[in-house]
Assembly symmetry: C2
Homo-oligomer: 142 residues x 2
């Protein structure tokens, strides 16, 4: 048992707390990018939950400063939310590209990357980036 017992699990628990937030801001940014605005309904469909659940989750995101909402208006990201969305989506992309470079089939890579992205330290992400590069240049010699 290296490092203090429990510390790792505390980290995992706090990860969980922000996972949903990350998924939401990432989705919101993507939807705004694609469709101009993001409505609750879009998120409900995306996450396959009821619009009520979306509503309350958005409420927590607003409480925590990630989004701005007005009644009956589309959801907008704050600067903080935008920042989190960017980081999150960059991380997601890294993990996805890494899995593909590793040889994981598309469908599995897409699914797994969404679960894995929330649990990668900078160390791990760096190694993934390095691997992607190496694979890219290795293409020549194959």
């Amino acid at each position: 048992m290296p490092t203090s017992p429990g510390s790792r699990h505390r980290r995992i628990r706090s990860d969980h707390a922000t996972e949903l937030a990350e998924d939401y801001v990432e989705a919101i940014a993507e939807i705004i990018d694609q469709q101009g605005v993001c409505r609750g309904t879009d998120l409900a469909e995306r996450f396959a939950v009821s619009h009520v659940t979306v509503n309350r989750t958005i409420g927590r995101l607003e409480r925590d400063g990630y989004v701005k909402t007005e009644p009956y208006a589309p959801v907008e990201l704050t600067a903080k939310g935008q920042r989190l969305a960017n980081e999150s989506s960059a991380r997601h992309e890294t993990v996805l590209q890494f899995l593909l470079a590793l040889g994981v089939p598309q469908t599995s890579a897409a699914i797994d990357s969404e679960g894995i992205e929330h649990h990668c330290s900078e160390d791990t992400l760096n190694c993934m980036r390095k691997f992607i590069e190496q694979q890219g240049s290795a293409q020549h010699n194959t």
Copy 2:
């Protein structure tokens, strides 16, 4: 957006539901292996939660058929629980060895592997195993 929207997230949510169970049975098996028996206190310390939380989690595990308990007695795994523990710990080990082979520093690898192990499909695990083997044999040429 390949595959039906939402289906992935449903999967991620149901993953979450079994994550704790996997972590617990894995820890229980390990503690029994090391110390002969596993008490609630051991788990509370391991996961850095109160003994009350452990107690209730164990209750759910018992309800779901993973463990057997008697009041004031150590926790024991059922066959089902043992099986899950074995699978879980094998997966954990694969992910850990993979991260190390990738070049991730020990500490980060240990932490990340605990979060990642729950989100890897068989496809991904297979690719990880293949990579570990290749790295192993590549040692010779370095």
